[in-house]
């Protein structure tokens, strides 16, 4: 748990998951986020393969025979009556993004520090909104995502770069 300054509604932009892309060079996934206000710019974050698959399953609303890790966290909330209220991408330091998950129970709000991948995997399962601060949005990578993706496609054919 961490103390966190509350963000005014004006400084937050709501996000939605556009897609999860595989990065064939590494054992990672690229989480592509877009804004819900119709702006076309994208935002991408490199995340682990397991977290990427978890987000993908949440998007597909596919059901696994056994609860996966983020399903289990959702299940805790359902048992306790704790609501995942929202998640906010709050900071970026040397390409590492930070997120805060807001939980609400009995009128009390509590926050947890999380990686964006865990925060978003949980938010999607709980239908909780996802936000990014204007500051983090302005400092994002992913402005040239299309160029990057086409480079990735070309690279797939040739030898792998390290």
């Amino acid at each position: 748990m961490q103390e966190h300054t509350s963000h005014t509604a004006e400084s937050l932009l709501e996000l939605t998951v556009d897609r999860v892309v595989e990065d064939p060079d590494t054992d990672t996934r690229i989480l592509v986020l877009s804004r819900t206000d119709g702006k076309t710019e994208l935002f991408m974050i490199w995340i682990g393969a397991a977290e990427g698959e978890s987000i993908r399953r949440a998007l597909d609303t596919s059901v696994t025979p056994r609860p996966m890790s983020h399903d289990l966290i959702k299940s805790f909330g359902e048992h306790f009556g704790v609501k995942t209220e929202r998640v906010v991408l709050t900071d970026v330091k040397s390409s590492t993004y930070f997120a805060t998950v807001y939980l609400e129970s009995n009128g009390v709000t509590r926050t947890i520090d999380a990686r964006p991948s865990d925060a978003i995997a949980l938010a999607l399962r709980c239908q909780a909104p996802m936000y990014v601060t204007q500051d983090v949005w302005d400092r994002r990578s992913g402005q040239n995502l299309d160029a990057w993706l086409s480079k990735l496609a070309t690279k797939n054919i040739g030898t792998q770069e390290v």
């Binding site: 748990m1 682990g48 393969a49 397991a50 977290e51 025979p65 056994r66 609860p67 996966m68 890790s69 983020h70 289990l72 966290i73 299940s75 805790f76 909330g77 048992h79 306790f80 704790v82 590492t96 930070f98 998950v101 939980l103 129970s105 509590r110 926050t111 947890i112 520090d113 999380a114 990686r115 865990d118």
Partner: protein, 141 residues
């Protein structure tokens, strides 16, 4: 421990007097999470089970114990026992999540006797005999 034959990882649970062993096949990310907890490694950012523990801490819920209840061929079952606001809860989970969480919560790990009986230890002995030294990676603690 890495299982090169199934391209998966095995968590081996032992009972307190070391007479029984219970192998559980888990995924790579779960194995890595359990291994980090065993080695008390604190990653720079919370991993999924650290986040799970953070979630429980934030709402003041405590893990009392976890129980491995059934190991079928493809579906493994465990139960996590917790307290939250003076009530007890039992939550269904995979053994890998239950173990990863128990290790971070200093909670005991139990297995139903039927689960241990079902796992013929010969099977594991045979498997262990076939292991080469190089199969023992960092994940073996």
């Amino acid at each position: 421990m890495f299982d090169p034959y199934n391209n998966a990882y095995i968590v081996i649970l032992r009972d307190e007097d070391q007479s029984e062993m219970l192998p559980i096949w888990v995924g790579k990310s779960e194995a890595s999470s359990i291994s980090l907890a065993l080695e008390s490694v604190a990653p720079p950012r919370p991993m999924t089970h650290d986040f799970m523990k953070g979630y429980l801490d934030a709402v003041n819920a405590k893990v009392i114990s976890v129980v491995i209840t059934d190991l079928n061929e493809n579906t493994y079952y465990a139960k996590i026992h917790l307290t939250y606001e003076d009530s007890e809860y039992t939550v269904d989970s995979r053994p890998s999540d239950a173990i990863a969480l128990a290790l971070r919560s200093q909670a005991p790990i139990f297995a139903n006797e039927s689960v241990i009986r079902k796992q013929t230890s010969e099977e594991l002995d045979q498997w262990l005999e076939n292991l080469k030294p190089e199969d023992f990676g960092k994940l073996d603690s």
